[in-house]
Structures are given as structure tokens and as C-alpha cells.
Symmetry: C2
Subunit: 568 residues, 2 copies
């Protein structure tokens, strides 16, 4: 019977897919102890033996450049997270060191980012312990996903969804800083609309000095992006001046603020204030905490963090893998290893009170532009941050808040990928829908739920596409018999079973010369049991003639032949 | 540029899909007033003018047979729903009449079913008003889905999920009746496990008379299914005796119970007790109710019903459309019209205190086997139930509960489609997973959530299949140049973008003779912007040569050509 051969062929496929379990485990165990496996998991073993001293100059320069951007950004992102500024610095050094050992992409710079800071903000404002615990738990989750090779899950986050998410995050973070930029009291709000309402309702409270400094710094930072193209300086010098623009902005801000502030601490600018100097303690992440005098257990903390842990881990993986792919141009990316690396970065970070970390686009691009040769550049960045924590923290008392806001806003302006939005719109109009929905959902419901809405909507596209597979029906005369040849062109899933049946029945009812219907499966690899059963239900219990039975091969899954009488 | 032509071609497709809106609305408006549209919506107008008197004999016999089964089943399902038995009868007549006007499938019998009764049970036990309101709301939802032509949504419920759902429902309902069958006090539980625990912990409380009657009735009902094949009676008589077995069981039960019960109402059997005689009042469905002296508003009632409304409506649609397809063998089913019909049945039912209705498999098969010619058979069934309510309700005082349990259990035993489970297992091993998961989830979480879990799991299959499209890469020498021809065979969605890129890059890295990569899209219809952008990212910013630019047609969406240098 044709049906039987369909079943038995699918059976063979099954055995092919699931070979003997013992063999599988043996192979896996043996693989564990091969040298390649070890160097895959510890990439430092691959490049360190080949390290050439002259590379170190390049790594040093790149590490330093990244460090000079990392310090002001970290301080700013500590503030975005709703914490004291030193937490930003605590978050920035451990990953730089850890990634040297485990990272596979020389350019990648792991640390705090604006999006991570915003995502943890609602929990961190309760107590820094939440941010640190989130870092630990997200790290564990990323490590686990990496070990289990589940990185492919991020493929369900499409470019329109990522673009919408990033645009929403940038708009939210940038908007929240608008108030600080103009010296208006910021209610630590993270709502885009609230921030603008606050801004426009407080226009009379704009502080001239703060606004002037903020706007000028912002203009300076935006112009400095293009400083690398100036003609009057040697190209390489112009490039490094452009790359170090954040450091310049901070230094200029500190100098102006220091000069204009009197010895009692009164001056025209709102200042960052005291940044606690010294190393953070190396200790276990907090598994319990106290908020407003109330003792919270581990379980209470997990309940508070809730779904954020998954969202933060996913976004962190997404950023890391996407950037690794972008900067490893053409080389195959070991996504699982990247997940393991950033997972360990976050776990280790949680021992020094760090916020959740991920790859920073700004600093990774900077690292690449500065010509880094290996991940060792991270050692220089990390050391610079440690030195800052040990000796320079007090200097940062004088960083005007408006300067930090300008740094954040200038980063956010360039985080939105305007070209990409245009490309999505030009590429396929429908794809602008997940972009818009993700953007609105992220702004409205918060980033962690917004991205879920976007992913969910985009999955609906996949599901609906599966309802209407491409089926061609051709009517041919073979030896005077009318044959309707149904050519299946996509693999069929249960959701398309009824569509296939309806198409065939409509065709047969319309073309009275059809005497035989052949369903040909040469071009498909797989159908599921619903499609099989629904297709078979086309045949009534009458005896049916079979003209062909070439159904032994893998590609020939179905080849029913039924006389027309059985269809009506 | 190749990219541009890809974009512009997709643009054309778009315009093709969305023609002028005015034209569309004009066409739709004109369509509304065509005769075909009216007869499509009121199918009675199609068959009534052609009605031949001799059909009425067939319709009468079939309607009577169905009615004889409908009465005891309705009483039993009223009890399954946790209500007084007369509610079952209230539920059974209105749909029989309404479906005559709106139904398209002559065999379909709409009424209360065991699954509907079980699904509404948890709400109905609080107050019958919940069941009636649910009937109204589900009816409105079904009507709406039918009008909006959204019936295709049920295609996301695969055969394994339906089979698991039905098996779980049958097991739960059957198990709950085991206690009553043996005369053990039933705690009105609807939990499969609880019912069996109750049964085994109460073995000592088994009532001999009830158990004897129950088991004998069950054996009688099962044997009578096969009575139609006996040789000593004319075939047609044997068939009708077999079909009327439920009525026989009830009549025999009533006679025995009546004879053994003394005038004070004491007897060996637990009896159904008083069934309120007379018609239900014709009134608006209850939009508020009182439970335990507490006044509940419409909003409170909606909150109580919650997600059940959607589940019940979906299951009701699923049953109706599936059965219409099964019994209209080969004719195209107007699923939307069926949804509208069963929606109106439920809305009208709620005016006479009915439970949610759907197509009953048992009675539909009975109707078909009895040779019904048109939906007019429903008039006879409906009238019989009305007569029963008016004159016979008091007789049913004597129906032994064990008899009703036997009727329910025998229906449940044959509700599970054992052949289908075997076919799923033989068809595709993986598909047994959604069956098992749906079964367990339905038993464990209840039917309305269980089916959701099953649908969700099965959707994951569709999603994961989209991650790995079928891509063939062939290496050819053309004029001495190594060309890797990438043949796409499925439509590509964003989830497969990375897979495609990785496949191409691995192939190029492994085969050093590749100089040009061609991505050919002749066999695909559609890609989305993520696939487009990720594929384009294979090209670095270096100038790339293009050898071919035949990308104007619909099928030729991509035909990138890049020299190998741009890939490494």
C-alpha cells in the first residue's frame, strides 16, 4: 500500500536521525578531551603562544583609547541604572580581563551599556543588590545556554524587532537625559513620554549654565565624530582625537566646573558629586537584601527580578553574538563560546558588584578602529578603570551632570540605525510592522516586555506563512486519462493540511476531465502526520486504483493516486 | 544595483496584493446583494424549494432516531455539566430548529455534548446562569469569527492535538462516571485521578444493585453497537434497533426501577430524581446572577468565565467544521457559514437556558446512518425533545443514575480514536509528542488550558522547522571560474537568515576554488527583510563585481554575485 511505504520511509529517516545513543555518548566523551576542544573553550591558548611583542603596542594604544571612553560612559551608565556612579566603574573592569581568556573576537568589548543599565534600572533603584544578583543570574543563564548550544534561539529575533528595540531603548534613554542636559530636575523617570512632559512643563526651570554646557558638549561630541576626516592634521592623529572625544568632553567639563566652583562647593553646574573611591570588595553576589528596612530572601529577590533575568540575558547574548559576527567578518562565529564567555564575564562581575554586562557597540567599534590585535587590549582598558577607581574617583566629583547627559545622548543618537530602518522599509513593506510594534511596545510596556511582543508578532508571520504552502496543480492527459498532478513545493506542516485538501478539491470540482489525482512529493523533505492523514482522507473507503508506487526514496514521500470518483 | 531590483520587484508584488480600496469595497457591497450571497447565508432557501415529499419520510425516521438518542444523552450531559438534568434537555432543542435554516451539512446535529458539558462544569456548578451566559458569549464569538472569515485559525490545531484533547476529555468524563456506575457517592469531581482514588478507596461502598445494573447496561450498550451485523434479522431492522440502543437502555432502566421502587420512593437504585417538567422560559440570557447570596455583575461573571469562553468557542467551531468536512465528503465546506450557523444556535439557545452547543459526533453519525436527506430532520428531533419536556419529564424520575453513567461511559469509550493514535505513531514518531503532551496537560490543567499547551507546543514545531530551510550548494566551473551556486528551495523567513549565511560561509571556507557565489532564488516566492539584509552583509564594503542581473521577475528575488574575496 502506498500509505505503508510513506510510513516506512519516514521510519527510516527517523532511525537515520537518531543513531545509537551509546555511540553518540562515546563520541562526545572522546571529543571532550581533544586539544581542539580545550583551545575552543579557552581561546587564549590559541593566540597567546603566537603573540608577537610588536602587537602589544597596538593592543596598548587600542586598550587605552577604549579605556578613555569606558570611564565616562561607565559613570554615565551607572547613573542611568539609577545607582551611584561608581557602580558603573565596578561593572567595567572585570569583563575586560575575563574576556581575554574566553573571548574569540579580538574587537569585542564587554561592559555596561546604556540598554543594560535601563533594563536593570527599575530593580536597581530599590537596591544595588538587585543589579548585582541579576548580573550573576543572567551570567549563569547565558553560560547554560552556551553550554547547551541553544544560541540558535536568538535567531527568532528578527532585524526589524532588534531595530525597533534598539530605537525604543535609545529614545527612552536619550529622552530621560534631556532634562539633565538642560539642568532640569529629573524625576529619575524612565518613561519616554513622562520625560518630555517633565521637560516641557519645566521649561521655566531651565538652568542657563547647565543648558549651555550640555548643549555645547553635545554639539562638540557630534562634530568630533567627523573630526577624523579633517584635512589639516595627519590622518592618524585626527582619528585618535576623534576617538577620544568622550574623554575630552569629561576633562573639559571637569576643568570648567573646577574653576567655577568655589571652595564651599557652590557653582553654576550640577555636579556628579562624590564618587566612592577604592576597589569594590570581592565577595559573593548578594542572595538576600534589605529594602526600606524589610528583609528580602533569595526567593523574594527572584520574584522582584522576574522575567527581567531572561530578557536581559537574551539581549546580552543578542548584542554579543551580533557584534561578534559583525566584527569577525566572514570568519565563522562560535556563538556558543561567545555566550559562555559573556556568561562568565557576568558571573565574575557579580563578585565585584557589577551591573549586567554585554558587548558595547561604541567601544567595540572604537577598539576595532584603534587597530587592536588580540583580546589582550582588554587588560589595558581594565587596568585604566582600576587605576581610575583607586586614584581618580575624587576628581570625578566635578564632572558636570550635563556633560554626562551629553555623552549619553550623543551615544544614543548614533545607536539608532536609520539606514537599517530605510532598508527594512525598502526591502519588504510588511516588515516595518514588527519594527513599529516593537518600538511602541518597548516604549509603552518597557523593554523586557516590548521585545517579547515584537518577537511574538514576528512569529505569527512564520505561522501564517505555513498555512499557505506553494502548491502547483497541472492537468495533463496521459494515455487519454486526465491526470491532475499536484506538485508540492514546500515542506508541509499540519497548519497547511486543510489548504492542500481544499486546493485539490476545488481543482477537481472545476475540471471535470480529471480522472486521477497524483500528489507528488519529489521536492519536499517532510510532511507531518496531520498532512498525511488529511491527504489520505481525500480517499473514501472505495477501492482505489494505484498506477505508480515509486515511494521508496526519501524525496518521494507521497504519491497517492486516486480515481476521480473517490473525491466527489 | 541588484539590491534595488530586489526591492522594486517586492514593491510591485505589494501593489498587486493591495488594489485600490474603493474598488474592493464596491465589489464587496455589490456582492452583498447578490442572490448567491443570500442563499449562501440562508442555505434553507437552496434546498426547501426543491424539497420532495418522499424525503420527509427519511427525514422523519432519521430525526426520530436521533431524538431517541438525544433525550437520554442530553439528560446525562446536563448532569455532567453539574446542573439539573432538565438543563440538558433545554440545550437540545433550539439548535435542532435553528440549524435547519442556517446549516449547510444535512447530517450535522448540534446540541449539548459531553466535552462541552465538562468544559462548562466548573462554572455551571456555581450557577446555571454561567452556563447560559457562556452559551450566549461563545455564540457571539463564533458568529463574529464566522463573519470575519477567521475560521482558518482552527488549522493551527493539529490532528495529534485534537486527538490528545478528545482522549483526555473522554478519559476524564468516563472516569468521573465510574463511581456513579457502581453506586458510589460521586463527589462531583472532574479530576481523572481524584475519580479513580475515590473509586478505589470506596470499593467497600459499592452498591450491588446499582453496580449490577450499571455494568449490565454498559455491556448491553457495547454489544448493541454490533447488533447491526446480526444475521437473524433483516438488515434495516437490526440497524435501527442498534441505533436506538440508548433509548432502549433508558426504557429498560425506567421499567426495572419503577417495578422495584415502592410507593414511598424506596428502592434498590439511585434514581435521577425529579426533572422539572415544562418548557424553559424564553428570556434574555442572564447578565447578572446571584451566587451564595452574593450579587455578581456582568463583569464579575465574565471574570469568572475568563478564558473558557474562547476555549469553548474554539472547540465548538473545531467540532462543527471537522464534522461538516467529514460528512460532506468531498464537497467544499463553507466553514465560515458553519461557524455563523453554530454561533446563532448558541445565541438562540441562550434564550432558552441552554448550555454551550456544538456538533455531536454520535448523533451526527446516527443521523447519517439513518439516511437523513435535509437538515429538516432536526425539526423532528427538536419536537421530540419539546414533547419530552412537556409530557415525559416526570417519567424520567425513575431513570437509574447507573444507566445514565453507562450511557456516558459507552459514548466516551468510542470517542477515543484508537486507530488515529496508531496512525499518528506510524506516520511520524515525533507527532506522538504533541498528542501525549496535550493529553497530560488536559488531564492535569483542565481542557481549556491543556489544549492551549498542545497548540503552543505544536507551533514550536513550525517555528523550529523554519530555522533550517533546504539549501543546496553546488560547485561548478564556468569558463574556468569556480562558482558556488546556492539554490534556495524554501521561502526564507528571518529565523533562517543566519543558517543560510553560515552554510554559505562554511562552504566557501572549505572549498578554496570558489571565486564567485551565486544565490539563486528561482524556486522561492518570498524572503523577508532580515534574510535580505543578512545575505547582503556577506558582501563587505569592497567593490563587488556583478555578472548577472536578471532580477526583474517575481521568482528571481535574489541573484547576488560576489567575488570570493568579499567573503573572507
Amino acid at each position: 500500500m502506498v500509505v505503508d511505504s510513506y510510513f516506512s520511509s519516514s521510519d527510516d529517516i527517523y532511525k537515520e536521525k537518531f543513531p545509537d545513543l551509546c555511540d553518540f555518548l562515546k563520541r562526545k566523551t572522546r571529543k571532550c578531551f581533544r586539544l581542539k576542544t580545550i583551545t575552543d573553550k579557552l581561546p587564549i591558548l590559541k593566540w597567546l603562544p603566537k603573540y608577537v611583542p610588536k602587537w602589544f603596542i597596538q593592543d596598548f594604544v587600542a586598550g587605552l583609547t577604549v579605556g578613555l571612553t569606558s570611564v565616562p560612559q561607565s559613570i554615565a551608565y551607572g547613573v542611568v541604572a539609577g545607582l551611584d556612579p561608581q557602580y558603573g566603574l565596578y561593572s567595567a573592569f572585570m569583563s575586560s580581563f575575563v574576556y581575554i581568556v574566553f573571548g574569540t573576537c579580538k574587537d569585542l568589548t564587554i561592559g555596561p551599556t546604556a540598554i543594560m543599565a535601563l533594563m536593570i534600572n527599575s530593580h536597581a533603584v530599590l537596591s544595588p543588590d538587585f543589579a548585582v544578583l541579576a548580573s550573576f543570574l543572567c551570567g549563569c543563564l547565558m553560560f547554560l545556554l552556551g553550554v547547551l548550544n541553544l544560541g540558535f534561539l536568538i535567531q527568532f529575533i528578527s532585524i526589524p524587532v532588534v531595530t525597533g528595540f534598539t530605537a525604543a531603548a535609545a529614545a527612552t534613554i536619550g529622552s530621560a537625559q534631556i532634562n539633565t542636559l538642560f539642568g532640569i530636575k529629573n524625576n529619575r523617570t524612565n518613561e519616554l513620554v513622562d520625560a518630555w512632559i517633565n521637560f516641557f512643563s519645566s521649561l521655566d526651570k531651565i538652568s542657563l549654565y547647565n543648558a549651555l554646557l550640555g548643549v555645547l558638549t553635545l554639539v562638540f561630541l557630534i562634530l568630533m565624530r567627523y573630526f577624523k576626516d579633517v584635512k589639516f592634521l595627519p590622518k592618524v592623529i585626527a582619528k585618535y582625537i576623534s576617538l577620544a572625544r568622550n574623554a575630552f568632553a569629561v576633562i573639559i567639563g571637569i576643568i570648567i566646573a573646577y574653576c567655577l566652583t568655589d571652595s564651599d562647593g557652590n557653582g553654576p553646574f550640577k555636579l556628579t558629586g562624590e564618587i566612592k573611591s577604592g576597589m569594590p570588595p570581592f565577595k559573593l553576589p548578594p542572595f538576600s537584601t534589605t529594602v526600606d528596612g524589610e528583609e528580602l530572601s533569595f526567593k523574594d529577590m527572584i520574584n522582584q527580578l522576574g522575567f527581567s533575568i531572561v530578557s536581559i540575558a537574551l539581549i546580552s547574548i543578542l548584542d554579543t553574538v551580533t557584534m561578534a559576527k559583525a566584527f569577525l567578518k566572514g570568519k565563522t562565529v562560535d556563538a556558543s563560546q561567545e555566550m559562555i564567555a559573556v556568561g562568565i564575564c557576568n558571573i565574575m562581575g557579580s563578585f565585584v558588584s557589577a551591573l549586567p554586562n554585554t558587548a558595547s557597540y561604541t567601544r567595540t567599534a572604537l577598539n576595532n578602529a584603534s587597530g587592536v590585535r588580540t583580546t589582550l587590549g582588554g587588560a589595558v582598558t581594565g587596568s585604566l578603570i582600576l587605576l581610575t577607581l583607586a586614584f581618580l574617583a575624587e576628581t570625578f566629583y566635578y564632572i558636570p551632570k550635563a556633560t554626562l547627559s551629553a555623552i549619553i545622548i550623543s551615544a544614543m543618537i548614533f545607536l539608532v540605525d536609520y539606514d537599517r530602518i530605510r532598508e527594512i522599509w525598502n526591502g519588504k513593506r510588511m516588515d516595518i510592522l514588527p519594527f513599529i510594534v516593537t518600538f511602541i511596545a518597548c516604549v509603552w510596556l518597557g523593554l523586557e516586555y516590548g521585545i517579547l511582543v515584537g518577537i511574538g508578532l514576528n512569529l505569527v508571520f512564520i505561522m501564517f506563512a505555513s498555512v499557505r504552502p506553494h502548491v502547483d496543480i497541472i492537468l495533463e492527459k496521459v494515455n487519454g486519462i486526465g491526470v491532475a498532478y499536484v506538485e508540492l513545493r514546500d515542506d508541509l506542516r499540519y497548519s497547511s493540511a486543510e489548504f492542500l485538501k481544499d486546493r485539490i478539491m476545488k481543482f477537481v470540482n472545476k475540471n471535470s476531465e480529471v480522472q486521477i489525482v497524483v500528489i507528488g512529493g519529489e521536492n519536499i523533505y517532510e510532511i507531518d502526520s496531520t498532512v498525511g492523514l488529511v491527504s489520505m482522507s481525500l480517499r473514501t473507503k472505495r477501492k482505489t486504483k494505484k498506477f505508480s508506487q515509486e515511494t521508496k526514496t526519501y524525496n518521494d514521500i507521497i504519491r497517492f493516486i486516486f480515481p476521480r470518483t473517490s473525491l466527489c
